[in-house]
Amino acid sequence: MRESEIVLDFAAQVRKALESQGFQVVQTRQGDENPSFDDRSAVANAQSGAVFVTLHVASTGLPGTVRVYVNSDLPVATDVGGLIPWERAQTPFQELSRKLGDLVQGLLAQRFKGSPSTAQTAAVRQLRTTAAPAIAVEISSVVIEDRADLERMAPGVADAIAMGVATFRPSYVVPTPAGGTP
């Protein structure tokens, strides 16, 4: 089983679930292409009022469980000109990411026994340069012999993500420049 193919299948279901909640979905890849971390972040950072969800299928972990990760706390950096460096684009969104992550993880834990109840923290490269509430969702695992076992998880994962984002929406306020126009 190739992770990239399974992830696309999951992404299609997540997209459907989110669109059914009224959200607009932009995918960073449609097929077998492999954009760089920065390319993906560039797509995300060009959107306004977006949340970022990156999907993964792990090769380890308890089969049938799903974990949500938010980025490790990044040190707040002051840069000349009031800009946050690209390398720390996630910094102002860490609290929002944590909130979104906990919401989605809580819903996943209800559907997939053995999953953690709250989001975990990790230095996920993709999240660091994303200027939006951002989470990584990792499904275990690609070593399941029968692909159907993984595919059966997709609707539950998609539903949990869509419901989590919908619940998160009212609390999502976009950080804006001090004194600037919203």
Partner: protein, 263 residues
């Protein structure tokens, strides 16, 4: 051929098939076991050739605390103790515990690091930043995934934390080079905090003159890796590209006018 001989021949063949059916699975098991033993021996030999674990017999045996996988498949680590004649020199001490960690626990299922991984070099800067240079096997043979990659790094940082108080943070290199991720997910461009539980990373700053790292628990600037220019120019930091995100977010907070988009 007489019917009598035919009967004997058939009976002999039948017996051979039965013996084969019984013996083949046993033979297969023995071959697998032999292959595993041979593999372990090869790994041991390679490790002995490439790694010189500095051991000073004069040093008293200390119960070194090493962190391996819990074995529950939940991504948690558990600590085990190994009696080692740990050096008082923090660099030698770090090499000792890391090489023991790489050698792995008796139960190979509890490994957090690939068996072929070799610690090529270890340095400790005066500010407490350690630099561990591992062979490529660490990057190529660690199972890809956030959980498995985090476990690998966590087992290293927690083992150092438990045994070498001088190490404040850790920079991981692969074959002398800085790499973007360990196996596709975990960020290796920054340093990992060692002197606290859990894992933190200080990413590279945009310019060498940037504000030093102020990670929780880190009272000193991060190591040299954090002061390197970014590897890839950021689109939003290009002149005229506009603000990516404001530095201070204490101003107005606005509800998005439209529904959030999901990437």
């Amino acid at each position: 051929m007489t019917p009598k001989w035919r009967t004997w021949l058939l009976a002999g063949l039948a017996l051979a098939v039965i013996v084969g059916a019984i013996y083949l699975p046993i033979l297969r098991r023995r071959m697998k076991l032999a292959a595993k033993l041979q593999q372990q021996t090869a790994e041991q030999a390679r490790r002995e050739l490439t790694q010189t674990i500095p051991v000073n017999p004069g040093e008293p045996l200390v119960k070194a605390k090493l962190f391996w996988a819990s074995g529950n498949g939940d991504g948690m680590l558990t600590n085990g103790t190994v009696d080692l004649p740990l050096s008082s020199d923090p660099v030698l001490r770090s090499k000792q515990v890391l090489n023991t960690l790489l050698a792995g626990p008796a139960d190979t299922d509890l490994r957090t690091l690939p068996p072929d991984t070799v610690l090529l070099a270890f340095y400790l800067l005066p500010d407490g930043t350690a630099i561990a240079d591992f062979s490529e096997a660490l990057a190529t043979e660690t199972p890809s995934g956030i959980q498995s990659e985090q476990m690998a790094v966590d087992s290293i940082t927690r083992t150092l934390e438990a045994n070498v108080p001088r190490v404040q943070r850790l920079k991981i290199l692969i074959h002398g080079q800085e790499v973007e991720t360990l196996a596709g997910h975990l960020d290796l461009t920054g340093t990992f905090l060692v002197n606290t539980n859990g894992m933190q990373v200080a990413p590279p700053t945009a310019a060498p003159t940037a504000t030093p790292t102020t990670s929780p628990g880190a009272d000193k600037p991060a190591g040299p890796a954090t002061n390197q220019p970014a590897q890839t120019p950021a689109p939003a930091t290009k002149p005229g590209a506009g603000t990516l995100t404001p530095d201070k977010v204490t101003g107005k907070l606005a509800q998005p006018e439209r529904k959030p988009q999901v990437i």
